[in-house]
């Protein structure tokens, strides 16, 4: 059986991409294989680990639990879209670097997207809320303490940036 292909326009980090994919192409695979955006990582491929988390119209969403065809019309943000326009690190990325919020880095893209949206919705999380913000993402290396610190540090950086502007 030759598989039917679909033309899909994926809007990723503000750029529209045309891809031709079978309906069963997962969004995570479309991003990585069809668009070459390998920042989005794939761990479990069944929604549990959070490595593939992207922002879909601003909301954290598992890219491995969606088909690319379904994402037609939505605005997708991947980890590649989190840097500042001049290419320097965004506040959450900077906080991860400062707080040693990563070791191997496999889980990091999913944490960065999740936290970016989390701090947008709640710019001043309590310690408890910072932990809750990352509770749906798994990390096999860090033991999470430095990731939670990075959430709090990123919130701080966000506030400083606001005061400065």
């Amino acid at each position: 059986m030759t598989e039917e292909l679909h033309q899909v326009t994926l809007s990723v980090n503000g750029v529209a991409h045309e891809v031709t994919v079978p309906a069963r192409r997962l969004l995570s695979d479309a991003l990585r294989h069809d668009l070459g955006l390998t920042g989005t990582h794939v761990g479990c491929e069944h929604g549990v680990c959070g490595a593939c988390t992207v922002l879909l119209d601003g909301r954290p969403t598992r890219a491995c639990l969606m088909f690319a065809v379904t994402a037609q019309g939505a605005a997708i943000t991947t980890v590649e879209g989190l840097a500042e326009p001049d290419g320097s690190l965004g506040p959450v990325q900077q906080a991860f670097a400062e707080c040693h919020g990563l070791q191997c880095g496999f889980c990091t893209p999913g944490f960065l997207t999740t936290i970016t949206a989390g701090l947008r919705d709640n710019p001043t999380p309590t310690h408890e809320e910072a932990r809750e913000m990352v509770s749906g993402n798994l990390c096999r290396c860090t033991g999470y303490q430095n990731i939670v610190k990075a959430v709090e540090r990123a919130a701080e950086l966000g506030r400083t940036a606001k005061d400065a502007s």
Partner: protein, 277 residues
């Protein structure tokens, strides 16, 4: 870990969706995909076609009517949880929804999809059963209302026919002077519960609904049962089984502990309500 090929349909209206379901037998509805896509990826399911309802117009509303909260088939768990009106009319919804997976899954998964998926370890089926709510389904034959007690027929089995589209669900409003509460124990926050209990206290009536300790969401009438016996009476109607996550005995113990605790919270909820007025 990749789904098998399938034909893909993306209808724009409910009528188009159920016509497609009728015309392509074996097709499955794709809503939030948070349960279906893992099943497809693991090839535990390989339907010949999917009917993606994410572009269907008019299914994303939360409406408050006299009889309760009407939830459209495309309302995501996160939207229902964030709705202050829904929370006011039926506070049990938010109390249960915070236990449904993680926020990221709730952003995409639909509340109605969770009902139709009919997982006895899921929170919302137990809530719908306790409240006596219903699901409205449409097909080429017309629309019909399926009450909760007829909806859940077996593990992961609802009584919707293969060509029916669930259009929405109705969660009845909390009656005046009634109290509700929800509690569960999971290995990790956000995981499926080892045991969960929802309780409703109204006048002398006490009812509790259970997840993860029977094949289908089970409602037990505990009216008039002394506090110390609540759990054991409930267990006569439940069938906790052991698995990799917990032994049957441990689950039974959770039934005892949680029933007492959650029923007590529901009684207090009723008192709080009175004082507020």
């Amino acid at each position: 870990m990749k789904p098998a090929p399938f034909r893909y349909h993306r209808p724009a209206t409910p009528a188009e969706a159920w016509e497609t379901l009728a015309a392509d037998p074996g097709a499955k509805v794709l809503a939030g995909g948070q349960s279906l896509v893992p099943l497809l990826s693991m090839r535990l399911a390989s339907p010949p076609a999917l009917v993606d309802i994410n572009a269907v117009a008019g299914l994303d509303a939360i409406e408050i009517r006299d009889d309760g909260v009407h939830v459209g088939a495309l309302v995501r768990h996160a939207d229902l949880l964030a709705s202050p009106e829904a929370g006011k009319v039926q506070p049990l919804l938010a109390r249960a929804l915070v236990h449904v997976a993680h926020p990221t899954i709730r952003n995409r998964g639909t509340s109605v999809g969770s009902l139709v998926h009919a997982d006895s370890a899921a929170e919302l089926p137990a809530v719908l059963a306790l409240l006596g709510g219903s699901v409205v389904a449409g097909s080429v034959r017309g629309t019909r209302t399926v009450p909760a007690e007829q909806l859940f027929v077996g593990p992961l089995e609802s009584s919707l026919r293969p060509d029916e589209l669930a259009l929405g669900a109705v969660f009845p409003a909390l009656p005046e002077g009634a109290g509700v509460a929800f509690g569960e124990v999971a290995r990790r926050h956000g995981d499926y519960a080892l045991c969960g209990v929802a309780a409703l206290v109204h006048g002398d009536t006490v009812k509790a609904s259970y997840l993860s300790v029977s094949d289908v969401p089970t409602v037990v009438d505990l009216t008039g049962v002394p506090e110390e016996e609540l759990g054991d009476v409930a267990l006569q109607h439940l069938d906790p089984v052991g698995d990799i996550h917990a032994t049957a005995d441990y689950r039974a113990q959770l039934v005892r502990v949680l029933t007492k605790k959650v029923v007590r919270q529901a009684r207090l909820d009723r008192l709080d309500d009175r004082e507020a007025r």
